[in-house]
Amino acid sequence: MKALLNWLDSRTGYKNLLHEALNEPIPGGARWRYITGSMLTFCFVVQAITGLFLWSGYAPSTQTAWESVYYIQNEMFYGWLLRGIHHFAAQAMMVVLGLHFLQVVWDGAYRAPREVNFWLGLVLMQIVIGLSLTGYLLPWDQKGYYATKVATNIAGATPLIGQQVQAIAQGGSAYGHHTLTRFFALHAGLLPALLVGFLALHIYVFRRHGITVHKSAEGKPVGKFWPTQVLYDAVGCLVVLAAVLILTWTRGAELSAPADPGEDFPARPEWYFLFLFRFLEFEAISRLGVAFGAIIVPGIVMTLIFLMPFIGKSKFGHQLNRWSLVVLLVGVAALTALTIYEDNHNESHQAKLKFAERDAHRIVELARREGIPQNGARELLVRDPYSQGPRLFARHCSSCHRFDGHDGTGQHILKAVLDAEGKPVKGAHGNLSEEEPATAADLKDFGSREWVLRVLTDYDKTFAPMKNAGEKGQRFLDGEMAGWCRENKAVLSDPTNAGSVTALVEFLAAQSGRADHGTFDEKLVAAGKDIFEEGALKSGTLSSGCVDCHAMKAVGETESLGDGAGSGYPTLTGYAGSDWLKRFLRTPGHADFYGDNNVMLAFDTLRLSDDELDLLVKWMTGDYYHTQKK
């Protein structure tokens, strides 16, 4: 063995190299404060290893990028772990980079003769920022897509050459296949190669000048890199790795829904760029233009940092550098905290995040169940009632109706309230606004047993918003059905009649033929049918049977129970079922529905295409794939 190693050494000189590497003198001995450089190198090595493996499963195109990342994350063996490490180690790298930078400036390690190495470090910092920026887009999910759009639009705001820079980065005038292939080439090719090159120079120059020794270490014995400092470095790396693994285990690398240019997303940059995002939002800054806040100011700051070795020549200059950096970092931290605080207290933003999360979960469920079509996973969401229903409701229905108090997607319908001077008044929802009153019923669980019961026993409350719908709306509250409900309120709420009411509700709810309401009790339905016709409850009688006004052919029967009282008394055949609802939405003013009393807009094919109608109704009637609960 020894002979073999000697042979190898005589051919390669590896012992000398090893000796050189491990016996680097450390004046004053090993110290914990020297570990940040090694930790950064470690982060990069982790990224290179995991990145190469991820590369083997990644397919950069707009129809395969998200899909392949989904596959790594959810299907491949320990893919979640691999991607999680890459995802969180990237963030850890930013933290360690900040520490390393802070330490270098604080300890004055940027001063002569180490100026060049300081600049090399700044170049490395830019490369790392470039890596995180390009990497963010690669999964081609909503989050990465919209956040990166902001970045390329900022590039587009560069004076003079902006448009060209943006077009070159995007590979065209808009995002597409070439945006991904270019970003991927940068992320996995050019930038890592540059990083390796500059890192080699950085370490070479560092070794040339040696460690910047702390004054307190002067006069203490000179130690060596091996083994104590190596141990300290290794422990530092272990801490980074542990943090990365814990985050991977507890949170996992996020993957939002596939990028969709037509679908809004509550975009925020990755947390370490939040300060810049918030900075640009200041009115005073945004008034000066994007280029000022996003390019000129950061450019000036970077230039000042670049000049630190010159500024720091004097004692005063060094203190200036130190404290400027502290002020800068405190400012960054404050802006970051401010953004997080504001976002957490922004109800609308939180609702959007929640809805985006709903999409993210849903698409994985659909992809697992149905497989991903050739055109990409987005198609699965686009034709999924559970995903599209709330959006269609928000777009078409929520100007009058509500869904559990919101617009279907979780947003409250708000309006600004102005005071006497025309200034907005701060309301319950923070954003200077208050709830816009609905003008039609809240349609959560429309057609369910609960809904039917509510209509019968609490008609006034169910349709209370109609009072905001003008004279025609008021008719619904003063009309015959409202009157019937008031007349029969005592009978219907009599505890001895609870069974009868349940039966009537069961009968009416069963008309929809919906599958998601569970099985209907046949005995109850039959009993309910009698009440529907005759109006006889266990104790007492309804002032009139339902058939006296409502036409109805009960589900599964061919004979009509009644022909109704004429136009404007809604037909209840298949009430709240898919066909009933579709016909109602298309023609609410038809004699079979509200007739002349109708206040609702008719959703003809110009307003709502057949596909959209289908999606909306399927969502409202629960006709979609339901999450299987284990």
Partner: protein, 199 residues
């Protein structure tokens, strides 16, 4: 000031005497040993973890337990029974199925084609790939035989080889008649070998 940088004077090698004002003490032997072991163990560990995670994922093709598939038994519908000639003449049919490639599912994709023969109440299915070198075998009605245009392999109606070109008879596939429909379990086999081995 507490942190003036001090130029280090490199050299603290066991072979040469220390140039520092204070002589360098080698670490206490036991502590030094522990530090060495610790550095190697922890250093190795942190390097290994990302590599192991990557390797596990890379070995996905052999490590992951796959679902039993689409839930079908591997049989695909090939034809209606009525489409087969009563006199036993072979007829070629194309088989289609949903095919999954990693994350993408291709609907109704052509898997391949087979010859079906109806003999009495039985149906025989041949894979139409030549057992010689994988060309598609044609049925020659005039000679009532299967014939491969590439290297003249010839088979009779029962799929038995009629010359020395092919290494074995035509490959028979499993067939099931379900009601009025013929289902075939489509498989391909290695060519150019005397035994029938599924790919």
């Amino acid at each position: 000031m507490a942190d003036q940088p001090v130029e280090s004077s490199p050299s603290c090698e066991s072979s040469s005497p220390c140039q520092h004002s204070v002589s360098c003490h080698p670490l206490e032997p036991r502590r030094g040993f522990l530090a060495q072991v610790g550095a190697i163990v922890i250093g190795g560990l942190v390097g290994l973890v990302p590599f192991v995670a990557g390797t596990l994922c890379f070995l996905d093709p052999i490590l992951r337990k796959r679902d039993s598939g689409t839930g079908t038994d591997g049989f695909q519908r090939a034809a209606n029974l009525a489409e087969l000639p009563e006199d036993g003449t072979p007829e070629r049919f194309t088989l289609r199925a949903d095919v999954t490639d990693a994350w993408t599912i291709y609907r109704n994709r052509v898997l391949g084609s087979v010859y079906l023969r109806k003999i009495g109440t039985q149906v025989i299915a041949f894979n139409d790939t030549c057992t010689h070198l994988g060309c598609k075998v044609d049925y020659q009605a005039s000679n009532k035989r299967f014939f491969c245009p590439c290297h003249q392999s010839a088979f009779n109606l029962d799929g038995e080889k009629q010359n020395q070109t092919p290494p074995r008879n035509m490959d028979v596939l499993e067939v099931e008649v379900r009601g009025e429909e013929v289902f075939v379990k489509y498989q391909n086999f290695f060519t150019a070998r005397p035994d029938k081995k599924a790919i």
